[in-house]
Amino acid sequence: MQLYSRANLNPALAHDFSVGFIYTNYSDQSYRVIRCNGPHDTDHTNVIEGNVIVRSAHIHRLTERYQALRPPRQDGFAEATDAYLDIVGALEYLAALVNLQVSGALFR
């Protein structure tokens, strides 16, 4: 499992961020299991359900039904959330969600 975080380099776009977990199996196949995204300025569309999340923080999750799409969209499903406001909050929320105990400061 790999924990990653990324943020737009433009300080004016600090709301464009993503933190998440990527699982890589022994066949070197990677799966984006869960990702907490910020309220970036582009929309998210759940192509199966047809609903659109407009400029809101949202959480992507790996689902069986989206993996079954052709082409597969492994973490194509997302739900809007108000559980965090910034990248630090998103990382803390993700850590709590997956029972990850953080030692020390996440960002220095």
């Binding site: 380099l9 464009d16 070197d28 997302a78």
Partner: protein
């Protein structure tokens, strides 16, 4: 459904999938049905600042396409830069793709911009080989290191004489000291290119350190046999190449043990 009905429905749905809305002073978001594979929309923004019209992605393409990358290499950005400049666009300060316009954007300008974004996304897809190679190296390094019974090892190692005498970078992925005092150097290759470079590198090493014991761990499904033969020919030993699937190290550890490396049996 009749043909006329199909055309009418699809046309209406396509039109509805496009939208333009203001998101701030001098900035508008163009929503299209073109999505990243996670369902997030390709970023297209109209910008009007200081009398200059442009289309920009606000850096969203690079950050989104490479979000599961852990190494932002110069080569990747060079490829992205080539794609961007080929369409008359610019690669901005914050990795943004910016397309300057002579006036307000037309649908064709938006179409061209979407092409650029999609092509930059393709660079990320074709970079997976690089990512897989670096991940394979890391996996093999960790697989060996976690089993070593000696602290005498180095990652990304090169003999001092080679460092002093060459301008290019020649590295083994792992050097391990043996109980007999010799050094084993391990190369991990999940691409044919890496296997070829490893053959070149061990040749360079052995000119100054003929005592080095080489091992090439290669991904059996991804490395061409010609590159394996090249490595064997270079060191004049057929037993130095070991097929290693990630997570399966038995053959490799047995080989390392036979060379004098202190390593566990599991």
């Amino acid at each position: 459904m009749s043909e006329a009905r199909l055309i009418e429905t699809l046309k209406a749905d396509l039109c509805a999938s496009f939208e333009v809305r203001a998101i701030g002073p001098g900035r508008w978001n163009v929503r299209t049905p073109l999505l990243f594979d996670d369902g997030d929309a390709l970023p297209v923004f109209v910008s009007y600042i200081d009398g200059q019209w442009s289309l920009t992605d606000l850096g969203g393409t690079v950050s989104h396409s490479f979000f599961d990358e852990f190494q932002f290499t110069d080569a990747r950005f060079e490829r992205v830069g080539l794609v961007v400049s080929n369409h008359g666009a610019e690669f901005g300060e914050y990795n943004s793709i910016d397309l300057p316009l002579g006036g307000p954007p037309t649908p064709f300008d938006v179409g061209i911009f979407l092409q650029i974004v999609a092509q930059v996304q393709a660079v990320a897809v074709t970079s997976r080989t690089d990512r897989d190679q670096s991940r394979y190296v890391k996996t093999v390094q960790q697989g060996i290191e976690s089993r070593l019974l000696t602290p005498d090892f180095d990652e990304n190692w090169s003999p001092e004489d080679v460092v002093d005498q060459t301008r290019a970078t020649y590295r083994a992925d792992l050097r391990i000291g043996t109980s007999g005092g010799a050094d084993v150097v391990v190369f991990a290759a999940s691409t044919t290119d890496k296997a070829n470079v490893s053959a070149l590198t061990i040749g360079r090493f052995q000119r100054v350190r003929p005592d080095l014991i080489p091992v090439l761990a290669f991904h059996p499904a991804r490395v061409a046999s010609s590159a394996i033969y090249r490595f064997q020919d270079e060191v004049q030993d057929d037993d130095v190449v070991i097929p290693v699937n990630p997570g399966s190290y038995r053959e490799l550890t047995e080989r390392l043990r036979s060379l004098g490396v202190e390593i566990t049996e599991n």
